[in-house]
């Protein structure tokens, strides 16, 4: 039994241990003490990331049935599968913080939880499969690689696994566009038109400019965010420009220019009003994305319940011993 004085001393020791782990770039693990705000931020960030993966399956899933070659069909199926898997890894990581997957699903389908706005755009052409791989996954990789060193152990480990799988995603997108740019005039037009639509939204995936991002500072202090929005965005643009040259595609930004002094590419102002519109639910496909997820989840309830009922009966726990029939 502790006295009040000893209680206060324990709390400080726990906090000190937490700070020490963060400062040492070490890992905070599920049973370690952590500030409530850290836990809440992580649950929000990880579950949002997981939701993004799951919702992200839809814009591409839209083209599996119409993929124009069997090889592309196979690759697309494998990619979307990976995204389901990534969602699962992340839900598992979030679960270690004390929230159930069922609850996270509930938040998603009731619209309480957010996911990356980029998936609220539609995919009207095949070339969008290329743009999503090259630009959207490319941006995601820039965001994700630093997260492999996130302070929270399960999150960092999930991200490491995801990063390994993600590199194929960007390459397959790039190669789709490359093939189109080497193809017929119609295919080339398709590719350019698609990039014209996806370029700015992809850049906005890094979030608002630093001065408009209040949460970032705390996340960076806790080492669950390693670089600022603007830093990552700049890094991404610098990588894209030479890649666009290989493709022979024009990035739709007349202000894009190498700046010798800074050693980076200058790029034009982004239309943040569109970002906030999409974020507020007025994007092209917000309602459709959530509705589709909701339907799959609700339609599948009887299947999940059947499996549970079977398990309860066949794998009954008797007196603490597991008996499989």
């Amino acid at each position: 039994m502790t006295t009040v004085a000893e209680g206060v001393a324990d709390l400080t020791a726990e906090e000190a241990e937490f700070e020490r782990l963060i400062d040492a770039d070490s890992r905070v693990e599920p049973r370690d003490w952590m500030p409530d705000a850290y836990r809440k931020t992580l649950i929000r960030q990880i579950s949002q990331h997981a939701h993004s993966e799951i919702i992200g399956m839809q814009p591409e899933g839209n083209w599996i049935t119409r993929a124009p070659s069997l090889k592309r069909k196979a690759i697309l199926m494998a990619k979307v599968q990976d995204e389901a898997g990534h969602g699962l890894y992340l839900y598992s990581a979030a679960q270690t913080l004390g929230i159930d997957r069922d609850e996270m699903f509930e938040q998603l389908i009731t619209g309480k939880a957010k996911y990356s706005s980029i998936f609220n755009y539609t995919t009207p052409t095949w070339a969008d499969m290329g743009s999503i791989g090259w630009l959207v996954d490319g941006a995601a990789i820039c965001n994700q690689v630093p997260l492999c060193r996130a302070s929270y152990g399960p999150y960092g480990r999930a991200m490491t696994r995801i990063c390994k799988e993600e590199s194929f995603h960007q390459r397959q997108g790039f190669e789709i566009l490359l093939q189109l740019m080497r193809g017929t005039p119609e295919q080339q037009r398709m590719a350019q038109e698609s990039v014209n639509r996806w370029y700015a939204p992809a850049l906005m995936m890094f979030g608002p400019p630093d001065e408009d991002s209040p949460n970032s500072k705390q996340s960076m202090a806790w080492k669950i965010k390693r670089f600022s929005n603007d830093d990552l965005r700049q890094r991404f643009v610098d990588m894209l420009v030479p890649q666009a040259e290989v493709l022979g595609i024009t990035l739709p930004d007349p202000d894009l220019k190498w700046n010798e002094e800074r050693g980076h590419y200058d790029f034009g102002e982004l239309d943040w009003s569109e970002f906030y519109e999409v974020l507020a639910g007025r994007g092209q496909a917000n309602a459709v994305r959530v509705a589709k997820r909701k339907k799959a989840h609700e339609d599948g309830a009887w299947v999940r319940e059947a499996a549970r009922a079977y398990a309860d009966r066949e794998f009954a726990v008797r007196d603490g011993e597991r008996v499989a029939s």
């Binding site: 399956m57 070659s69 199926m77 979307v80």
Partner: protein, 274 residues
């Protein structure tokens, strides 16, 4: 192309067949095309479950099964195409409905999860027997395709059986749905085991041991699947067999819209590479 963690395998693939100088004899190609169509159509149906499955783990599982089948299809189609200087994509995207030779069970709509599992149970049991026999084919390429497929379809059958049990013995509602799924699919069992005209053509041309006589596979199916159904608390439907005709290009109304969707983009850009 070398991505990190890339494991170099010796398993047969469509790319390997295309890159090799193998040219299928005409009669072998006709037979392979039929087998390819079965796998292609089913792979497409399973692909439709992605983003719609009852749980994320099933999006992955059904996706895996679909990818396995797509792999079989691509290998068969590539091999068949070698006889006529046509690629797998020429065959998949530029043939009309009457030129597809898939058996009708594969094109039927997915229905709900139970209906899909009902089909998976039936066709996986069929594929296990088919590929086991085809792995002994005197045609090396067909044997190699079947050898890889054999291992994969054994897993597909296991997946089907696990779900058959869970749905049959789960809740009253799931049992009802599982029974309904069997009722939809069972009339199409017969067609799977009717003599394959392309296999018969090989036999009558004196080319023994290339193709599998599927009529000989029926006893093994009958010894296994009905028992599985009953063990899962369900009844084997007693229904007249569907007329079928898939091997002759006769299809249900489901195939047309499916092919229209599959082929629309490729056909909009004939001759293009993707």
């Amino acid at each position: 192309m070398n991505h990190s963690n890339h494991v170099v395998s010796s398993a047969i693939t469509a790319e390997k067949i295309a890159d090799s100088s193998v040219v299928a004899p005409d009669a072998h190609a006709e037979y392979a095309l039929a087998l390819g169509d079965d796998a292609l159509v089913l792979a497409h149906r399973l692909g439709e479950w992605i983003t719609n499955a009852p749980e994320l783990e099933e999006d992955v599982a059904l996706g895996n099964i679909g990818l396995d089948l797509l792999g079989h299809a691509r290998s068969f189609l590539t091999y068949a195409g070698s006889a006529w200087n046509r690629s797998e994509d020429d065959l998949a995207y530029f043939r009309d409905e009457a030129q597809f030779r898939s058996r009708q069970i594969f094109e039927l709509p997915n229905g709900d999860f139970a209906q899909t599992i009902a089909r998976q149970l039936i066709v996986s049991a069929y594929f296990v027997e088919l590929y086991r026999a085809l792995a002994e084919s005197s045609d090396e390429t067909l044997a190699a395709i079947a050898a890889k497929a054999s291992k994969e379809v054994a897993y597909h059958l296991d997946h089907s059986v696990q779900w058959l049990q869970r749905l049959g013995l789960g809740t009253d509602y799931s049992r009802e749905r599982m029974q309904a799924g069997l009722v939809v699919m069972w009339p199409f069992v017969d067609e799977l085991f009717r003599a394959d005209p392309f296999a018969e053509a090989l036999e009558s041309a004196g080319q023994h041991g290339v193709a599998v006589d599927v009529t000989a596979l029926r006893p093994a199916f009958d010894a296994l699947v009905p028992r599985l159904v009953v063990d899962a608390g369900l009844e084997v439907p007693e229904l007249p067999a569907a007329r079928g005709g898939g091997r002759g290009g006769i299809h249900s109304e489901a195939l047309g819209p499916m092919l229209a969707e599959i082929q629309v983009l490729a056909r909009a850009h004939p001759g293009a590479t993707w």
